[in-house]
Structures are given as C-alpha cells and as structure tokens.
Symmetry: C2
Subunit: 378 residues, 2 copies
Amino acid sequence: VGDDGTRVVILGVGLHPFGRFPEKSMSDLGRTAALEAMKDAGVGYNDIQAGYCGRVVASTGVGLNIFEELGSTGIPVTNVELACASSSRAAEFAATAIKAGVHDMCMVVGVEKMPRGMLDLGQSGGGGMSFAGAMGLALLPGEYAMQARRHMALYGSKREHFAQVSVKAHKNGCLNPYAQYQVLLSLEEVMNSRMVADPITLYQCCPTSDGASAVVLCSEETARRYTTKPVYLTVSMGATPIYTPGEVELSEGPTAWLAQKVYEKAGLGPEDVDVAQCHDAFTPGEVLAVEKLGFCEEGEGGVFVWEGNTEITGKKPMNTDGGLLSRGHPMGATGGAMITEIVRQLRGQAGPRQVANAKVGMIHNAGVGGIQLSILTT
Amino acid sequence: VGDDGTRVVILGVGLHPFGRFPEKSMSDLGRTAALEAMKDAGVGYNDIQAGYCGRVVASTGVGLNIFEELGSTGIPVTNVELACASSSRAAEFAATAIKAGVHDMCMVVGVEKMPRGMLDLGQSGGGGMSFAGAMGLALLPGEYAMQARRHMALYGSKREHFAQVSVKAHKNGCLNPYAQYQVLLSLEEVMNSRMVADPITLYQCCPTSDGASAVVLCSEETARRYTTKPVYLTVSMGATPIYTPGEVELSEGPTAWLAQKVYEKAGLGPEDVDVAQCHDAFTPGEVLAVEKLGFCEEGEGGVFVWEGNTEITGKKPMNTDGGLLSRGHPMGATGGAMITEIVRQLRGQAGPRQVANAKVGMIHNAGVGGIQLSILTT
C-alpha cells in the first residue's frame, strides 16, 4: 500500500466462529472477534486510534455499536462496504491511513448476520436496477454458473472439476474449529446434491452464515514494540469490472490485470505464493482464481484443482481454512477471515492445516462492486 | 489530513438538485452530480483513480453502478457509510489516499433516495438493538428535542431561538436553485406547524429528500495543472461519542473536543472561520453547533442565532445554502453538499448568497455513528 517507506503490519487477528447464532446480536459477534484480535496483538482498546466496520446487509450504526461497547474513547468509526470484499477493502483503508500518518493503529471488524434465502443484489435501492440486474444476473449462482459453462465450452472443464473444489474445502473445514461446516463431503455427495444453477449444485454454494472477523493493523515502527515476527500487509489493491466490447470476462472483475499490478508492486510473482485464499462463494470461483492469479495457465484451472494442486499439501494450497464453502460466508466478515487465515499460516499457527514453510500469502476477495487482491509476507 | 507535506485540493464540486425524484434512479442522481463536479474540476472520468460512494439506505452495488456508468476504467469504488456524515467521511478517506500516494485524483459521490416516513435507526440489523435504541432514542427528533429541552432548562433558551434557525434556513434556501425548498417561512409558521417532539415542530425538521453530491479531490501538485485558485481540504477529522459518567453531552458526539483538535491542526481558531455549514437536521443542531465550534460561549447559542449572527450578513454565516432544513437532507449526499457550498463560497461563486471575503470555511457534519469536522481554506 502506498509509495513511501512505511510498511504496515497486521499485528493481530481474531474471529467469532462462523455459523448460525440467532441468539446473538451483531455487536456480540463483532466484539468477540475484536477482543480475540486485540489479545492476539497484545494491545488494549485504548491503543486503537480508528475503527472500520465491514458489513453489507445490516443498517447504519452497526460499526458504532460494536466499537462503542468496547470502550468510550471517541475514535472515528466508519462502515466500509464492498459486498463480499468489505473487510478486505476496509483493511486497505486502515493501512492507507497508517501510511499517511493519520492513525498509527487501527482495527477492522467485519461482521454479518446473513438473511435467510438467496440474496438478490439486482436492486440498488431507490427504484434503480443495475444493468446486470436487468439482464437477470442479479442472482449470483447464475452468474457463476454461466462462467463455469463458458469455461466448460472453451476449455473442456468437467463438472467434477468444479465439484472437487467443494470436496477439498470441506476437508479443510474439518481442520478449522471456527468453520461453519466441519464435515467431510464426498465427490458423489456434492455432485448429487440439489441442482441450483447448472453445473452448480447446492453443496457447491457457500452457506448462509453469521460471524465476525477482526484485524489489528499498525505501522512497522509501532509493531516492533509488540512482536519480533511481524506479518506485513505488503500490498492491497482493488478494482472494478472492465467491460471490453466483444470480450467475455470470466471471473468477477479484471482479476488477471489487477494481479499483475499487485505482483509488480510486491516485487513478487505467482511462483512465490506459498498459500492463498480465494473467493469460492461458488465452486467456479476457485477454478477461475487459480488461472487469473497465475498459478496455472488459462483454461487449466479445472484440471489444476482436480489434480490436488490446491490441497493443503499441494503446490498452491488454497482456502486452507475451508473457504467460503465450508468455513462460511458472512459477507462483511469474509475478508477479515481470509486475512486471519493467511496471518496464522505465515506465523506457523495454523495447527493441523498448516502449510509447510509459508512465507508469502495471497488473498483474492471478490464481490459485487469489485475485487480486492492482497499479498501478505513475513 | 495527515502529517507530511502533501496538501489536498478540492478541485471540483457538483450537485443534483435536492428534492423528490421518483422517476430517477440513484445512478441518475449520482451521475448528474459527478458530471457537474468533473466539469467544474476540468477533468474527465479517465483522470479519476478511485471512487468513493457515500450512501446509507441503499443496498450494496450502488457505488459500482454510478461509477461504472461513467466509464469502464476499472478503478476501485467503495461505499463509505457513516449515516448523515457518509460523504464527509468519504472525502477524508479520499484525501488520506492522496496523502499516502495511493491515488492522485479521487471522486466522492454522495447519493440517497430517502424512504418515506421517519427513519428508525435503533435496529442495527441481525436482531440487535443499540443501547440508545433500547432507551427510546432511536428516533432522531426525540433525541434533538431532549437536547433542546436540556438547553432551555440550563440556559434559558427559548422556543423562538430554535424556530429562528428554520426561518433563516428557508430564507437562504430561496437563494439556492439546488435547494429542495425555496420558500420563505415566517417565525409564526414555523412555530405553529405540527408538533413533532416538543419543542421541535414539523418545520424544524429536515425534509425527506432525494439528491446527490460529488467532490473531486487531488494533490496540490496535480491541482496546479487545473487551477490557480485552489481550495484546500486543510483538515478533516472524525470522532464517535464519548460517554462520561455524570455528564450530559449536548450535541451528537464530542464536538467541542474534536473542534479543538481540528483548529489546532489547521493552525486556526473559531475567530478565523468566515462561513460554516452545520448539521441542522433539526433546529437545535445549529444552536448547539455554534457553541461547540466556539463561535459563542456555551449556553449562548440560542441568543446568538436569534440575534442574526448566523445570517449570511452576520458575524458567522451558517448554512448559507439553506442547510439540511431547506436545501434538504438525502443522507449520503449531505456531506458532499456541505463541501460544495463551502467551496463555492471560498471561490466567490455563491451568487446571491455569497459571504463577503470568505477565506476559511468550516463544516460540521453529524450522524449516527459519529461526527466529522472539516476546515477548508483558500
């Protein structure tokens, strides 16, 4: 982030378990994650100089509620919203404020209690409907299914390739006590579950989740007081879709284009990435991400995943915590959960799902409104 | 904003008229304001490197919709939400990104189509209710009325003092072609309108509005290519309420405390402010703001307003464009509208409502979630 010398450290991370918690408020969820992140960072609430709340569905005031119940210190708190990428973008904003010298230590809390049923994002409120919505692309499984069908037609990918993403995700989820689903699914179970949008079956869709994540960020200088093994948020950048006449963009947003910029800024390439989190809200997400992030050639994503390259023990371990499919996807909390997992991996604290010698982690977080790519390093 | 040498310029401002526009979408409103701001700045959409959308009620995707219809350039776009102060906070974020060297030119679009009726902000979504909501303070006229009653009890302020704020606001609104109400109201009409929350009558409440604002910001260096008379966003800072046991905070958030910090950072004092915009969603807002911002002594706000000091020709002209009461208050758009008015005043472009020799402008923007104070200078 930024162009001067200041490096930003992710000092602490925390989660409230993902699942369904009808008896808990958003403040309850957010506070739990925040307290865990501050404990992990070794800081108190008085050390936090600004708050950012990533949330999508909940109404105004949520950010204030969460932070004011942690303490009455008067710090600015802002809701940052970018659909599924809300708390990733919020982390970029926090890092930017640290680089600009506006704040020295910030906390991002991502939180959501997802409403029941399918989310219709076509209505932008106030009577307006987006172009995509008017074209029937407001329901996300349909959008991902069209990308998968296109991929099958162009490159010969098979249904099994997509389904395998979910099998692997649930295998990883079993190793994560914070995951919404900690249960193995066979390839047969995934493929035979109810069809939602061909080729995407029910078990290839992320669940409806409640949960929260929290991330404490600070300047490198301040971090020295707390840790000798910092994890850096080396780059975090976002983009919106680019429509080029006659071209079909597979995946949400100009991922490959942004990935180039992010690698360049970090002085790294896809070959340097040891572990990654990608936006597998629906299984085609991972197949497309491995291509766009440069982990394999265009068109080979299906086979790449099918051959086990994104398993914890594979060449490019991905969604080691179960991903959106198994860990769950409370929209506002997801970006922070991805950061949490990568930080734990880079610190060697991922327990049974630890990737050996992980030094560089990448996060791909996509949502209605754009994408956010981040590289974390030790 | 920030502590290094980079100064941020507000290069262009624009509005869609405030009012009720059932036939227009949020994108229609936002696009109109954005095009006006870019024209005012003398830039094209390709010059904009990041977008920020201030909006409260509308669902996710609104920011993307507005910006992607202006061009398919792939820039990051983020929804920033802080209730009534959304686009003020978004402007701070844009300025911070410019100071950090992340972006060089950014645009903030604030937009809203307010739903009919009274906004109930007590529900934070997900089944949770804020403390304030549970205490019955979720409806804002009640909250402002309690502040007014307290002020009357402590300092002897009269009902007329509050009502006069609306009389003055509507007088100014008549001079603003973008204002929702361009009609004179007498003190008697204001005081005799329907009681909403004693002492606040209907005409002391801001209307239900649709509208949009846009602000183009860039670094001082870049601004030199476009203008020889820049207006600077010298300071912009936010805060959340601080609860001190046994003390009653009049006004939303620790306004006086934050004002101190803002003046200090700008190297200015209340005596230097030539024109101000304050959050007069309900008439007590202005009475309290003039005290908290240091324009008069604590307790004297009612008399200060009553005596005409906040008129365009007064000592501290305030809400020269009609304010929230007469110009209107589409929540997400309000902060940008305040910036727009101050920029026009500092440039000497405010026409019939021009304040003579305005060099320093102040903005007080309060909302559920906190306050934002900004100082603009020539």
